[in-house]
Symmetry: C2
Subunit: 233 residues, 2 copies
């Protein structure tokens, strides 16, 4: 059973992302939300606190809860979206490889627990394009622990996180990442269609989930020539 504060959070989140509430709008007051959902204020505040955490709303004492920013979601969480010019609709995801079950690479970018090593991982290679221009090359590694039918799922133009969220009730809670600027070389040149030596943003991330000891790892190559990465924190 989903906790009540989560239900309210999910609903408000959905409404904000779908534009029911738009940037600058004021959400119903805490007391109104209490009445609407038949819960008490601490519970409502827990939901709003999560929304604040997501950077979706601001709160001002005496005023109310104000919708902050509709993130341009491209499924890379905290560092997500690009310039405001890029909407959800023109972002396309193309699967290059996977999802396939395999062993973890040797010398993995993050340290793995024995359980993870033993279970192997699900491997996924994707390229994401905006206006037919490839901007992201993205390799994901997911511990193959209790994810029935995962490797046979379709990921084209779907968010990996959305699938984890809806099909397995796994939510990304946070994570850590390492950032570097590197020079384009090897297959990156072809995949992102850049010149050799061009600056490329490189990310390594380890994402925590709501399931204990279950992490999602990924490496990301971004061509930031025309579009910056955007993130809130």
């Amino acid at each position: 059973m989903l906790p009540q504060y989560r239900r309210v959070y999910e609903l408000l989140r959905k409404h904000i992302l779908e534009g029911v509430y738009q940037e600058g709008d004021i959400l119903p007051s805490e007391n109104e939300l209490c009445r609407l959902h038949g819960i008490t204020r601490p519970t409502v505040r827990q939901a709003l606190s999560k929304l604040m955490n997501d950077g979706l709303i601001h709160k001002h004492q005496g005023k109310g809860s104000i919708v902050h920013r509709i993130p341009q979601d491209i499924g890379i969480l905290s560092v997500s979206g690009t310039t405001s010019a890029i909407g959800k609709k023109i972002l396309k995801t193309h699967i290059l490889s996977g999802p396939t079950i395999m062993q973890w690479p040797e010398k993995f970018i993050f340290e793995l627990s024995p359980v993870e090593v033993e279970s192997g991982c699900i491997y996924l290679e994707r390229v994401r394009m905006v206006n037919e221009i490839p901007l992201f090359y993205d390799i994901s590694y997911i511990a193959n622990i209790n994810l029935p039918r995962f490797s046979s799922r379709t990921f084209e133009n779907k968010s990996l996180f959305e699938i984890l969220r809806k099909s397995y009730s796994i939510e990304i809670k946070g994570g850590e990442q390492r950032l570097k600027a590197i020079s384009a070389q090897g297959n990156i040149i072809d995949l992102l269609k850049v010149k050799k030596g061009n600056p490329i943003l490189y990310l390594e991330r380890k994402l925590e989930t709501s399931r204990a000891n279950f992490f999602v790892y990924s490496t990301l190559f971004c061509n930031t020539e025309t579009h910056s990465l955007y993130g809130a924190f």
Copy 2:
């Protein structure tokens, strides 16, 4: 007056950062903290919630609150610290210019409010070095609103945020940032001692503070050849 949950938060935060509690340690349980500080559990939980938010602790139901990670703080908040090899001690900050009061640059990286434009800004240029190697070149713009004696302060080897925090009770609450990988050119080559064309990580950030409508802006150039940027979220 500082709220009680803030007091407890500050204390625990200080203890974690100072190493009283180390990575993997378990904090006193919520009920113990209640007794220790003479407050109730919801209040303690509010403090712990803030610590979780900072990425300083994890919580596990049934187990306790576990200290997560002592961030290698280099004063750039969420994207902070570098590899674990870099400790606080060997990071040196050198002021290149400022703090000086001046007008905002034309065509600023972020949109400014009329009040901000009218007030002008405090300008600050810094280079940060690890082992005598320059890794960061950092330009900060701070709205010149009610900050007495600010421009005459000394910043050598001090955190800008620490000064805002301690001298003006201004706390960084969050913010937004744009990330790019660029090629080294112009004065960046000299300042960061890199070759022309080398990949450089470029950041533009707008930081929200606890003071309404008061923001800190900065642009950052990072040489990530030897050290990645590290961040939690």
